[in-house]
Symmetry: C2
Subunit: 372 residues, 2 copies
């Protein structure tokens, strides 16, 4: 896949830099991890520091000093989940809530409670100001509220997609010197075969540069993700990149997604889990249902560095890993000490490891695919 910031080799794991920064890592760290594309979040950047400031600072690549490719999400997931998923908390503090209607989403900032509105048009306009290489259509992340709700949400997502395409084409046409931004549509429809197929047909018919699959169980459970993909596999355009949204909590999720045909996927889990002490450990071996599996001596594919058993363990997190942390020789005992002492350097060394391992794993699967 070609972008204004270089060719992307797929499949690709994309680290998440919510606020124009991957937590604890800088650009050189991300290059060292092998990152090709990173994600940034429209919702967060719109609220702070604001898309106008980022545009003025030479757009998002210049602002955050990242020369690789960037993908921005649409904010749809955040603003709709503010309403769907954290209702109990909302009621208590009168913050962090949203109301979805057919035209868009009205929501309250998690920073200061101020009222805002995002629509398909607004989301695209913000994303075009931010200036990422790949931008996403505005959608509603479908909650688990039955089929009729999922159908209504899907209908909205489709209408919003049409609007996104219209606004995007209009702005792209006016551009003379700035590089083109690739718009991806998002397949929704919850965990319902008929809705997923209807949504895949509709999004595919837009003939956009790429297609994403979001909502429902995508990213939450590899079996469910695989089932959802199997329903729409023959509808998805073969010549366009497939982006599985939020996929990659554990190494086995990456293997499963790539085996399902994913070209792109992103997840906050590698950095988030690193910060809480969960470090991936294990290696890719042939075998398993589809040819590969992640072999680990640890349940859930991670060791918990907080565990007292690592206090005197002078081994690396993972002896097969080429990340900066393992290659430099930091032991489990030292990382255990840093974690217990809440040393800031722990968060970076741990995040470098988890992100690097996911990217390395994806590279190995890519080589496997190319060889095969």
């Amino acid at each position: 896949m070609n972008t204004p910031h270089g060719k992307i080799k797929t499949p690709v794991f994309m680290p998440v830099g919510t606020k124009a920064a991957v937590k604890s890592l800088d650009s050189a760290d991300l290059k060292r991890c092998g990152a090709q594309v990173i994600l940034a979040n429209t919702y967060h950047l719109y609220l702070r520091p604001g898309e106008k400031l980022i545009e003025k600072m030479g757009k998002i690549h210049n602002f955050m000093n990242w020369s690789g490719a960037i993908l921005t999400d649409s904010g749809g997931y955040q603003v709709s989940s503010l309403g769907h998923f954290i209702k109990a908390k909302d009621k208590k503090n009168n913050f962090a809530r949203s109301k979805i209607d057919d035209e868009g989403v009205t929501f309250f900032s998690h920073l200061d409670g101020s009222k805002h509105r995002l629509t398909a048009k607004k989301s695209i306009e913000i994303q075009m100001k931010l200036g990422a290489d790949i931008i996403m259509a505005f959608d509603e992340a479908t909650p688990n509220r039955g089929k009729s709700y999922a159908r209504r949400a899907m209908g909205r997502t489709h209408r919003w997609l049409t609007e996104c395409v219209r606004v995007w084409q209009k702005i792209e046409k006016k551009k003379t010197k700035q590089p083109a931004q690739a718009l991806f549509g998002i397949v929704q429809g919850g965990n319902y075969r008929s809705l997923r197929r209807e949504s895949a047909e509709f999004v595919a018919s837009q003939n956009l540069p790429g297609i994403a699959i979001g909502g429902g169980s995508i990213g939450q459970d590899k079996g469910e993700t695989a089932k959802n993909i199997s329903w729409i596999r023959e509808i998805l355009p073969e010549d366009k990149p497939w982006y599985f949204m939020g996929v990659g909590v554990r190494p086995s999720d990456v293997i499963s997604a790539v085996e399902c045909g994913a070209d792109m996927f992103d997840c906050v889990a590698p950095t988030r889990m690193a910060r809480s002490g969960q470090l991936y450990s294990g290696k890719l071996v042939s075998g398993g249902k589809n040819g590969w599996r992640f072999e680990s001596e640890f349940a859930r594919e991670t060791l918990n560095i907080a565990n007292a058993r690592f206090k005197r363990d002078d081994k690396l997190i993972d002896e097969n890993c080429d990340c900066l942390t393992c290659a430099s020789g930091y032991s489990r005992a030292y990382l255990h000490h840093l974690f217990k002492a809440s040393e800031l350097s722990y968060y970076r060394l741990a995040s470098l490891h988890n992100v690097s391992l996911m990217i390395e794993l994806t590279e190995k699967l890519r080589e496997g695919i190319i060889k095969a």
Copy 2:
């Protein structure tokens, strides 16, 4: 100066890695900053993870994966300040306090309130287990409590020094394969000319590998530091390194200390100030009382990155700086954003800058000295 971990070029600024980690930085970062020696704290490492664990993990260099030189303090400053300087807090929470007697200090851990005792012998034994290249004699940091208290404290510090030398020589004699550790004595005596001179005479008479000046106003105010040094200048051994303890809050402190003859100095300020948003900005120019001065457009030689004036400032923290942060091109606007958003990467980028600038400054002064 020669150590088992390489030759140290003086004058040298030593970043502080209290718990065997310089806050937010890893070993490669420290190398990139030009660090030759780093400090670690006996008090903190004795309490967690314990000197026995560190010894078992191949001593402190292996444990923290740092191939340069390391200096450990004696714990004297920490345990005596627990008693001297934070009395009000102590009374409230019954924690963090200590009692000094002529034989040593009994204190309560800041981690869990458990009772411990440090003596001259114990401090040297711990430091020899930790395995730093340079170790410090156990001393009492003299509080501002009048001359007669300062004289008593100095007397204790001198008796403890004699004991430290005895224990150190005994352990060094037994060593066959392990590298020798250099013991430094510490001049105390508060801000009193006669006591400082008496202390300097006594410590110099021990003929140790190096001599440190601590307590009183040393490190707190450059004018006072200079005055204290001027009293003892001709007593300090010319052929041994002079270590000014806790010096280097601001660039001008470094200039002043080097002009007073300091060969080594350490300070937590560069990393601590970085974390609170205070970033050094300016450059070394000739002029000033003794030949050099730090020219900065900012009062107190730092900019406060939290300030709204930096929100849209696309300049570097310091255009003359070669640190990773400035060399990579991170702007004040981006660092302001990271700081406001409490992003972990801010702490590292800011610390890299402050530590690097202090070391670069020291290198420039060294070149100036060699040239002159």
